[in-house]
């Protein structure tokens, strides 16, 4: 058989290509959110990163997801968006 007509089994969302934001010229004076997703030892990674970013003049602020097993609560996302220019998320164990 050929030229068969079938029904689309997908959600029919045409995913739009989302362009990345341009890389910042400098992080000096920028507000950087450091998001801990509550995975073990994510804090170790972020502690070191915070130190390195501070040395380069960034203003860091720490945030934390209640659990890594669920998407971040809407309120947390809004807070991060309102309070920061850049975000670093620690995913790893």
């Amino acid at each position: 058989m050929s030229g068969l007509e079938v029904l689309d089994p997908t959600g029919e969302r045409q995913p739009r290509e989302r362009r990345r934001l341009p890389r910042p010229d400098s992080i000096d004076g920028r507000r950087v959110a450091l998001l801990d997703i509550s995975k073990a030892r994510g804090n170790v990674f972020l502690d070191r990163l915070e130190q390195l970013l501070s040395e380069r003049g960034a203003k860091t602020e720490r945030f934390r997801k209640p659990t890594f097993a669920r998407p971040a609560p809407r309120a947390l996302l809004e807070e991060i968006t309102a309070r920061s220019d850049l975000v670093v998320e620690a995913l790893a164990d």
């Binding site: 029904l7 689309d8 097993a69």
Partner: protein, 410 residues
């Protein structure tokens, strides 16, 4: 189809079907009629009710019931390869979802094709009865499985079940569908020999169709949002029925508050089975100790309260408990009693292993399973002194998944 009509003032007032000499003579007032003809011939039926033609005609003239985008494969394109190429498959061949097949599938429910059954993660796409039917065709379901599949999807997409988290986790688990009540018999599900294995169409395709909806409608794909380190073969589809007819216990759904004559699906985020082998115990006191010893290792012997388990108990093990009149509640109580001990005995470092409970729980009496975290289900073939443990993903204590039961609506 009528063969003779009586018309008065332009209205049909009477009619006959087929040929029956007496009836024709009476109807027309003319006798004798049809000399040389046989006494009786059935009338012909309309082709519109011929089984093979119904869906073709429905698709041609009633296709506006279907809202899904239509896709035409290329004239030289192999239809099975085409489905792979478009990313609709879980790795196994899928049945091309032609409008005819989808309409036939929709005959399995009285619900409108446009009705939204659930919002499917991770892309949070509203999923209609029709989209479920399209994926049910892909998976190889029969129309009568559709209500079970719809209930399974409804359960999967609740906040409690947390399908998004289950997809995204690096853990092994997938949705395990347990079917209870009369529908499991009506649609011919397997609850006996090789119950957790291959070979039964309903068991194999319902679980598969659920995962295909999550993949195709929700957009949850391996190496996309699905980040499983190892996964498990049950993620292709894991669905079975409880063996209710000769069970010593009330079925799972009755235990959860439903009536026996209701049909339900229970979704459990997990994997398995992990064998419990005990061919020698003949008393419930002995056998429950074997159960407890094996269950102690769920996730890790030093971990507790964070993972659930369902023990699938086949008839040979069940009769040991049946003989002594042990209920499911009694079995759970015994396991919890045997597996409750101070946290320090599961502490980090215990047995030379880094994994374990934190120091803060050292002095508390900790049971292996949370309240409601251990269940027993009767299923399997009649021969074999084994049980099988289905272990969970992280339970709600760890922000993971709570098992969810939903009634099947046709």
């Amino acid at each position: 189809m009528p063969t003779l009509l009586r018309v008065e003032h332009g209205q049909v007032v009477d009619q006959l079907q087929g040929w029956l000499r007496d009836r024709w003579e009476e109807f027309t007032g003319v006798a004798p009629l049809g000399e040389g003809l046989p006494e009786y011939r059935a009338g012909c039926g309309s082709r519109s009710v011929e089984p093979a033609l119904v869906e073709k005609l429905a698709a041609r003239f009633g296709g506006d019931r279907l809202a899904s985008r239509r896709i035409s494969f290329g004239a030289e394109e192999d239809e099975f390869e085409a489905a792979y190429a478009r990313g609709w498959s879980d790795g196994l061949p899928v049945i091309p979802p032609t409008p005819e097949r989808v309409l036939r599938m929709l005959a399995g429910t009285s619900r409108e094709p446009s009705e939204v059954v659930a919002v499917v993660p991770p892309d949070l796409v509203p999923c209609t009865v029709e989209k479920i039917a399209v994926n049910a065709v892909l998976a190889g379901c029969r129309p009568e499985y559709l209500p079970v599949l719809m209930a399974a999807l409804e359960a999967a997409c609740t906040d409690d079940f947390n399908m998004h988290g289950l997809l995204a986790t690096t853990f092994f688990s997938g949705p395990i569908v347990i079917v209870n009540g009369p529908i499991s018999r009506e649609i011919g599900m397997n609850s006996g020999v090789n119950v957790l294995g291959q070979g039964n169409r309903a068991n194999s395709t319902i679980g598969r169709a659920l995962q295909l909806v999550v993949r195709n409608v929700g957009g949850g794909r391996p190496d996309g949002v699905d980040r499983a380190t190892l996964g498990s073969p049950g993620k292709l589809g894991f669905c079975f029925a409880e063996r209710e007819e000769d069970s010593p216990w009330e079925p799972l759904h009755v235990e959860l508050g439903f009536r026996p004559e209701q049909s339900t699906v229970t979704l459990f985020a997990g994997q398995g089975p992990e064998p419990i082998v005990d061919q020698l115990s003949r008393t419930p006191e002995e056998l429950i100790r074997s159960f407890a010893a094996c269950l102690d290792a769920v996730a890790h012997p030093n971990l507790a309260l964070g993972f659930d388990a369902i023990v699938v108990v086949p008839p040979d093990h069940a009769r040991v408990f049946r003989g002594a009149g042990w209920s499911k509640a009694r079995m759970r109580e015994e396991v919890n009693r045997l597996l409750t001990r101070p946290g320090r005995e599961r502490a980090r470092g215990r047995g030379g292993m880094g994994e374990g409970l934190p120091e803060s729980l050292a002095e508390a009496d900790i049971s292996k399973f949370r309240e409601g975290g251990l269940h027993f289900v009767h299923a399997g073939g009649k021969a074999g002194m084994f049980s099988g443990v289905l272990t969970s993903w992280v339970n709600p204590n760890g922000g993971g998944s709570t098992p969810v039961t939903v009634e099947v609506r046709k």
